[in-house]
Symmetry: C2
DNA sequence: CACGATTTGTTCGTATGTATT
DNA sequence: AAATACATACGAACAAATCGT
């Protein structure tokens, strides 16, 4: 279980060495590291070995590698604290704004695509047969930057033309209330994590396999009937969900 | 922003192809994929290219690569649903059990190490000078399997001999109550994600860079004084934190 | 805007080490 | 102990992205 000492393997030893130099401040956040060729010369190893070391540092979020320009010390972006309050049940146009108000004051949501998608778990959550399922993908922006990708699974018969009736910059709750006369309530939300796939990398940046926060859950209407199952992915460095306990 | 079609690059095309075969059920979960040599023969590419494709599938959690034995379709392990309830403020020996009771009925916590660690953020959360900071690392097990790694930052003067006075299988709340006569209350908890580093891989398995759920927060005593700042890491496939909304 | 220089990305080939069976 | 399968490392070449002239 207890693996061997880091260092017996060349690329991990180099990754450790470079990582320590970064925390020691040899290169400041945003600054460029030596080029791969320079590191090859310094450590006298193959370029692939250097690349493995740099790739590991990128996975752990220490550096950012940019083709054509170089490798840079990752500079920590502002983290949005999104508050979670089980007492607040109604979802309205202001609630999204309010929950992330700590840093940002401009939250938008735009449609990426609407497709049919027979997702079994989603169908179970909605208590719907899978053939009536539609999936709406949206991109959430904070202060103009892409921030999160959301997928909403919903009843295609009830809300199939939601994408067409979308209002610029959303958010979804507004559209549902103004166009479909549906008031949304939280039912449950769950927090987990996944590795970024090609879709998330396309819209959010970062690299394949980068850790993402996943927040999924079900929202219901005033009768308690499930309206959608949602699965939102956010780059891990960008946000955290905070629960405050009352005493 | 919208990247090019996956497939212009060899290893990604192969990764997509293999991934599709997995979802198509050509190999069932737990079953072994063809060996790297076999895939080299089938796709007529270099072994490094095959390895890049497999590595990507591993990062996204589709397969598991085991040195010496082979590459296998990832087996979806049972997910522990850990409930988050801001109404429950007291942390006692049963609360940890209760929150994860959905699947497991045996939760343990054992000490890995106690070190001095001047962690600035932790010091701020505890309103303590960094030189009085101690860090206690523990391993949480569920049903005998390693489940989570926790790091507690605490006041070395007040709780420095906590590790020595640890009771087998913990949990921490019991030790603090029985040995130090401290009753714990939640102050706040936050959820985020990170990539697994060497320490987490050592104790939890998985691979470097695998997504982990991070739950950090502060617990206080009955006077509202911070007792510790905790940062817990769980393999993403193993658990999710659930918030139920009351109506 | 074009072009070349620089820097990272992909792919080939080969050899050897290490864990598992 | 031997065979199998993945891990690490070296060397070389070309492709693709970026940046300055």
């Amino acid at each position: 279980m207890t693996g061997r000492v880091a260092g017996t393997v060349l690329y991990r030893a180099i990754a450790d060495e470079l990582g320590q130099r970064v925390v020691a401040g040899e290169w400041k956040p945003g600054q460029q590291l030596p080029t791969e060729s320079a590191l090859v010369a310094e450590f006298k190893v193959n370029r692939l070995t250097i690349r493995q070391a740099l790739a590991q540092l990128q996975r752990v979020g220490v550096v950012e590698i940019c083709q054509g320009s170089g490798t840079f010390v990752a500079n920590p972006p502002p983290v949005l604290e999104i508050s979670v309050d089980p007492a607040q049940q109604v979802i309205d146009e202001g609630s999204v704004q309010a929950t992330v108000k700590s840093v940002t004051n401009d939250v938008t949501e735009s449609v990426i695509a609407y497709t049919r998608d027979r997702n079994e778990p989603a169908a179970r959550h909605l208590r719907l047969p899978a053939e009536h399922l539609g999936r709406l993908d949206t991109l959430v922006g904070a202060d103009g930057d892409p921030f999160a990708v959301s997928s909403y699974w919903l009843d295609d018969r009830r809300l199939g033309d939601l994408a067409a009736k979308w209002m610029p910059d959303g958010p979804l709750a507004t559209v549902l209330r103004d166009v479909f006369d549906v008031t949304l309530y939280y039912d449950w939300r769950a927090f987990s994590a996944v590795a970024a796939g090609p879709i998330e990398v396309d819209h959010l940046g970062g690299h394949l396999g980068a850790p993402l926060i996943v927040r999924d859950g079900v929202s219901v209407d005033s009768d308690g009937v499930p309206v959608f199952y949602v699965r939102r992915r956010i780059r891990a460095e960008r946000a955290s969900y905070v629960v405050h306990y009352r005493r």
